[in-house]
Symmetry: C2
Subunit: 373 residues, 2 copies
């Protein structure tokens, strides 16, 4: 079986590790460098989970009983992000909130700069999607004036900005977002998906800052996955920050009981100050490793590593090789799985997206990449 | 603090155990007889969970990685219920599927016999809801000819039947459902919510039987919570059985990644034959206890226990006492929490809903009830 066969089996998305393991049980996969999370944070979370739930025999109860309602769980989070619980909507992963908002509640044409996370346009009917190609010769960076022009010329009602963007890692500054808000009179909403914001080394801009003024609170909708920064994708935890009336409209039609017991435990844990202190330490360590990794892979000949404010790197292959072939070689010869970008629209050329993992894993990724290019 | 204060704090729903514990930390609650689940099944599930995930150190991975997509998890369930995965939609609890179907995908007026599970009408705008009061003098049983008349006279497009019904415990037979299908030409869908079907002693009718013929498959939508029979409400697992085109329409707009890692583990466990054999044993034991409990509480003077095919009993208070006062007395004097029905529309009189729990707990419920009536 070749990588192309795995891709065909996987359907519209890149083959998951679980699928590869099922189809190729004898293949040893040492590193999953498709997976965009901080593994040190998973360790930290699991230490608490072990102590709080397993060792104290409380886990059975967490699995047996109904979790609290959305608004009650929002109260835990409110303490951390210092936003009123009335402006918080908890999601069964960020994806649930993206779907709920874009498909069912917000009307009009949606502007989506590409390349980006494909779910944003895949869930929408074609007539509601307006793709905005970012330019290769500018490393696919957001250009604020271009975005404003595009929004105004195409009757865009909602613009989606993943910040930092996936897979480019580009970061749009607060003052550029202000410019869009001030210069696009027809725009109803900016969806600001800050799922990778913790990995921005400067880390200054946070969704929360946009909610200082009431006018922004009407227009900006923050989306945040917690799977990446806390390394807990299996739990399904995310949230949105949005204006009260939109939140209440959504809760009147559902999402009252959309968290599971483990996600509720996570939100309670996240509200503890001592946990946050420890989390910031493992984040710091992860970012140091990420920077070392960037320096190391940048020395490899035959590729261009695009600067990134996230925890992954978009890597262009400068030779005539295909990204799928390099992914195949890295996986089958070295047990290192990186993300091909051959299915990503909006990219010109052959690209890989490589996640920074633990220090040991990064060394393995580096070796495999160097030998496969 | 009195029970009425707890109710006021709880908002639209009966106060949860978690809320009572938070507001009254010193109150000892021995039995939660509001909670409609089989505790022996929770024990069984947790035994497997301990062995498969905790003892083998696999739990960290289940919490760290993304779970599989909806359609992949449907394949596990398909083996158990013998329905094609293309007719299965996995839910983050049954409630997610109820919301998704009724609010976003099915059009027209929804007929809802009352008393019933209130979420069915609370999530819908008033103009789409047509309540069908069941008759007290007939123990709030479904009367098929009345339902057919009501559906045809009121342009009902969707009828919701919880089977057995909550809180009445009444069970509508397969041939009555066939009659509705055959005699309501304007009806588009029957939603058959079989969340309590495992607790019906006869247990013959299953959603799956309606999917033998293609015509039923077009009209009948099965909804199934797994929280009750398996005692795993904290995990959030449910499913719908529905026709392919409706399923595909829903999946095109979302719900692709709506399960968490523990729910995925449960569906895999459920597909193992040895687990099902053990589950059937704990179900049998639970039903025996339920029947003993029914016989016992039926001897109490001053109440009427309505016959039930589910794992709970609707109990009418024949004295002049209020149900809220009895709930308060049972909770504060005996640490036994039963569900008041004072907020349930469609009931005439004062009612409690009492869940059958473990044998030991049932004895405590019996004592508390006898002393409080």
């Amino acid at each position: 079986m070749k990588f192309i066969d795995l891709k065909n089996k996987a359907g519209s998305h890149s083959p998951s590790i679980a699928l590869i393991r099922r189809l190729l049980p004898d293949l040893k996969i040492n590193v999953d460098a498709c997976f965009l999370s901080n593994p040190y944070a998973t360790d930290l979370f699991y230490d608490y989970f072990q102590k709080d739930l397993i060792d104290s025999n409380k886990l059975r109860e967490v699995l047996e009983y109904y979790p609290s309602q959305n608004k009650n769980i929002a109260e835990f989070l409110s303490k951390v992000i210092e936003i009123s619980p009335e402006n918080i909507l908890i999601g069964n992963g960020a994806i649930q909130l993206i779907e709920e908002l874009l498909v069912h509640h917000l009307k009009g044409k949606v502007g989506i700069p590409i390349p980006t996370f494909s779910s944003y346009y895949e869930i929408l009917p074609e007539e509601r999607v307006h793709l905005i190609p970012l330019k290769k010769d500018n490393d696919y960076k957001f250009i604020c004036s271009d975005l404003i022009k595009d929004i105004n010329e195409n009757d865009i009602k909602i613009i989606v900005l993943i910040n930092p963007n996936n897979p480019t890692g580009d970061f749009i500054e607060t003052n550029d977002i202000e410019k869009i808000l001030n210069n696009c009179p027809g725009l109803n909403h900016i969806i600001l998906d800050e799922s990778f914001i913790h990995f921005n080394n400067d880390g200054v801009s946070k969704i929360e800052t946009y909610f200082d003024s009431n006018s922004n609170l009407e227009k900006v909708i923050g989306i945040k996955s917690l799977s990446k920064d806390f390394g807990i994708a299996g739990i399904r935890a995310g949230y949105a920050i949005l204006n009260k009336s939109l939140r209440n409209n959504i809760l009147n039609q559902g999402l009252l009981w959309n968290s599971n017991g483990i996600a509720e435990y996570f939100f309670e844990l996240y509200s503890r100050k001592e946990f946050i202190v420890k989390y910031e330490n493992v984040l710091k360590r992860y970012l140091e490793d990420k920077n070392d990794f960037l320096n190391k892979i940048s020395t490899i000949q035959g590729i261009k590593v695009i600067p990134s404010c996230a925890n992954f790197f978009l890597v262009e292959i400068l030779s005539s090789k295909k990204s799928d072939d390099i992914v195949e070689k890295m996986l089958f010869d070295h047990g290192v799985y990186v993300r091909t970008c051959s299915d990503k629209i909006g990219l010109e050329g052959e690209y890989l997206r490589i996640a920074s993992r633990s220090k040991t894993e990064n060394d393995q990724i580096f070796d495999a990449l160097k030998k496969s290019i």
